[in-house]
Symmetry: D2
Subunit: 364 residues, 4 copies
């Protein structure tokens, strides 16, 4: 597979460049019979779209999705769902300055090294704009997962901004409902921390600079038994999905790096019986043991670097390797984190939907 | 794919349980014409094998590999390489105690939840013993990569123990040749740190407990252009490969989580011209930009939790969900890190070999 | 993979129902640097489109393709090519009669059996309309293959109608250029046979009935060495691709079933030296030996059944299993063969492009 | 994937050359909880093995399979099943004569053209010996399918020799139980035809020549709904699987090529109600409509060419392209058909098992 698909049974393939006519994708493997609420898909896109607040780029994309197939009278038919998202506010001329030189810490140089040709406008295929298609896929995955267990609690995925640069939430990772997360523009569920984060982002924006931080994502009500041994461990597939987002620098599961400082006797999660079910007393494992979900919350932390496009002048080289300088133009985010929240959720949802289907083949 | 394969063009599929008759695998996609040095494969297995030193489990596996196909007169023929590794020192009776109860933070419960049946002996398929097959695959990948550029420097991969619990090397990640790494039993290239690590591991071992830490792996001389946009970014595939190893809790690329504290103006890697080539002045990117290698060192840090098998008594439940206790028996490692070094290298080598082949299709 | 993709390195994924808003697809794996002539893609679609002549359905689709990504200044960039084909002349109301009953020898019953839900309008996903997306993929494959060997003769693929019911060309399979094939509406390169075929099709059409026959496809200038041993033999992949077209009942390679009547001494193709190259004196093998191309013409014959939609009354059952009758309405083809020619070419082109790329990984 | 695997969820990967130390494979995706009868696997291998009768090659392989993993106390565990088959009677020296010249209509030339290196001994990887691993996979698939519907009739697959050269069974394709098929050495269920076939094979053998013919395979009790729309149609996957066998020249489904002579009004299979189920009155469709099983018998006919190795002298060229001659030595079959019967069954069983698992994801 040439790299534009994710998932084996619930599979999203995307296409599209930042400043071409449209983005889009095909979602294969959606089972038949899932009722699809299209306005809810649009609502998830609205969480990702630029221009939501002062904290994000001023690019004015409506990101309106059109579903072209796979639905009949409001339900999925089991056939692939094709969709498109037109690029409405493309301003390719804003990118003339980076046609012949390489923006530092962007993909300009590496795409040229690989392909010998590159659509330089707004990062082309490497633009974070491509993640709009992932959010569509994730929104469809969410609706599938919600309808999977009519009797029981549905798997739920929620992410939030835990830290902007060194401003971090005081409390450990937990599941926060979307309305709590979205109560402020920075998408941090702790209001006091959120306002400090917001101030920092605006300060950095005024300086023409950028900041990073971390996003926590929690999946609850994932039943025990999802994930495969060896190479397709549930967290290995989650890791691949999350690392495929732009700007990721680090990932932790459960206790993460701090767990590597503990002794085994303290780190192990004792099994206990609770209301007739087998649970663990602690959750250093982050909901996954031996690559397979154990029914506890799946807890991941994703570190994002500061956005590479800054408005101050930087040293770089031309395509011909001559020294030069450049400074960012166009419309960019001072901090990717608030908009990364729906992207992170989408990736986790896609992986869970895939393993929900794969799990059906575990037993005779 | 059902989860026992890794790679698309250079693909390893493994089989085998800890205490069955044999482990093994099939390596597909090895190009024709690669000269294979079998003793060097064995030498890599010897780095992984149990019983190397006081720091590792006393299980006495020779881990002797037999290549069954795909070679003719010392060279690869382009057809799949099948191989087996007999389980010589299997003592299934040592595991009778965990047939009916779940070892905390092992895969016992989750395998039962998934499959309803489980080979409990030594962890079965979930045992770290399965990684022997990965080391064979990685050793074959290494020989392929070494012969890929007869004129230029070959891609090289080397890993080492950077930290055991809180005892860490004082210097930043760098490439150390294997002989430096292997100069001591703990596989830390700094002798003074190594001896403190060793003391800690032995102390913990005496207490029947375990410790974790981190391994750094560096790939040098990877040419620019390897990796694919979007989902199969080079670091996304590396992340999946590394997270598929047992006991991983965290992963960082380049600047990692500490990079998420920096501003964009400080984090960006300026391009510079050096000896006619395009290079970067710093390497916060860790050798990968937009998912594609840029020719700089690829630098990853993998955090491993303390081994779950401890010799002290722990609370747990039986398969029927009754409260009970158990303590580890069998032969186990107080610290997985020294033996994780060749496993980490193998995973990185497999991913690089795969992208070396995928890269050939980038241009007309 | 859920079944809407073909190819491993040159991979087409399609979506779309006969009477939904649009069809389309994503072509992944097209190498960078291929110059794309969009009017030539449209010309291939025009060969497949309905309403070309009296011999085909009266549905008036323009089948206008829009490429949405993967091109920059007329050349491919190595990123996926997304495309859409709007359904302009959809008349869903024409299909009300088959909502609650199963058309004989169509996919109505089996889709219901599989999914429990079905878009009955015009066959939905099972409609031959879906093949428009394949023709786009095949047209892109053709342009890639043409530019693959700037120095030498490019691989060429051409198909034609060899037989309609019992009216067959008198001469054995051969390569005919498209302009010869397209000289008449039935796409048979022998004018005399073509006019008899045309008369037969019109006669059958007047009777409200349908006929089948066979299409021959020949690929010339495929270099030796394409195809993989064992399961992905070149002809195994061609077989899958061709059998995935609607209405296929038989397939032959080279000597086909008549070759199974010969003795080995007569059937074997002796190797001979010709102009410095290794060739075979005969071509019973049909250009493929051991699953790998040998440089001779690849010759395949595909048998198509008569179209299932007929205008006379037939016995059938309702969704509830009650006996009933129905007769075809809507706009249908009396004979699929003339329009099958570009579909068959497309499938062969897609497979050849895939193996052209796979072949690059055969040697160190 | 590099071509040595078949199936997506029930996946067989094979390795091994004709005269290397061993053949073998890995079967992934076998669900947990299937009781495995190992002697029955061996019995299927015995049907394929050389030296069964005067009609087959004198090579004396016991083809003893060892299962190395994936079983625990007689049941599958859901983990991959690795297996090996040692090459006991390898006589590589018998093949010295074809090291430097190309056997006509064998894979010698094409493997050299592809890889530039070749294990010439007995055809290496291209040898029909590789199919032993497929028979193991098929035997495991059969046991899985048999246990899939504890309440209802299990899917059953049976093949037989329908025609040797021009000596054909007088009756149309039907399901014959294995004991009827195996009642004679030629595996034709009609005793009178069988004895004429046997005489022909022995006559041709005495002349140092070879013959081909056709095998019919029928799958009964496959439930409606297996197979996927578009590219992974059930018969497209069956076609690929069957065309991947050595020596295949033609394939027909249901009415086959003779169906292409009929009119639609005669060819369509009317739906009827029978014992409360929806059935078809005729079965020209061969049990598959729109790529999905309809519950009727799946009927396929596979044409095999005469074996390429003949004992009389033939013209050919050396690796350097010089004219020469050669005649077959080694131990070969005058007619592949009796031994092809278990191979054909294996391929059909593997595809059915795969789609049995894929089918589980069709609905919410």
């Amino acid at each position: 597979m040439p790299g534009s698909s994710i998932g084996q049974r619930f599979k999203l393939t995307t296409f599209g460049e930042s400043h071409g006519p449209a983005l889009g994708g095909i979602l294969e493997g959606m089972p038949a019979g899932v009722a699809i609420d299209i306005p809810r898909i649009q609502a998830e896109l609205d969480r990702r779209r630029p221009g939501q607040s002062q904290l994000t780029t001023a690019r004015k994309e409506q990101d309106e999705v059109t579903l072209l197939s796979g639905l009949y009278e409001g339900k999925t038919t089991g056939t692939p769902i094709g969709f498109t998202l037109p690029n409405a506010d493309a301003k390719p001329q804003e990118y003339a300055h980076n046609e012949d030189r390489y923006r530092p810490s962007h993909a300009d140089y590496t795409y040229d090294a690989k392909y010998g040709i590159r659509d330089h406008r707004g990062g082309g295929r490497a633009s974070a704009r491509e993640t709009a298609s992932r959010v569509v896929g994730g929104a469809l995955a969410r609706q599938f997962l919600e309808q999977l267990y009519p009797q029981g609690p549905a798997p739920q995925v929620s992410a939030y901004v835990e830290r902007v640069q060194d401003i971090a939430m005081p409390s450990p990772p937990a599941f926060y409902p979307t309305q709590t997360v979205d109560a402020n523009a920075v998408r941090c569920p702790d209001p006091e921390t959120a306002s400090r984060m917001e101030a920092r982002i605006l300060e950095v924006k005024r300086a023409g600079d950028t900041v990073g931080g971390s996003v926590v994502v929690v999946a609850q009500h994932v039943p025990p038994g999802w994930g495969e041994p060896v190479f397709d461990k549930l967290h290995a597939d989650l890791a691949k999905a999350l690392w495929s987002l732009p700007a990721v620098k680090g990932l932790e599961l459960g206790s993460g790096f701090s767990g590597t400082l503990m002794k085994g006797s303290a780190h192990n999660d004792p099994f206990v019986r609770e209301d007739g079910a087998i649970r663990t007393a602690t959750n250093h494992s982050g909901g996954i043991q031996g690559g397979i979900s154990n029914g506890e919350d799946i807890v991941l932390r994703v570190g994002f670097k500061p956005v590479a496009t800054i408005l101050t002048e930087q040293a770089t080289v031309t395509r011909q390797g001559q020294d030069t300088t450049m400074s960012g133009r166009g419309r960019h985010d001072p901090c990717v984190l608030p908009r990364a929240v729906p992207m992170v959720e989408a990736m986790v949802l896609l992986v869970l939907a895939d393993h929900a289907l794969r799990q059906r083949n575990a037993r005779l």
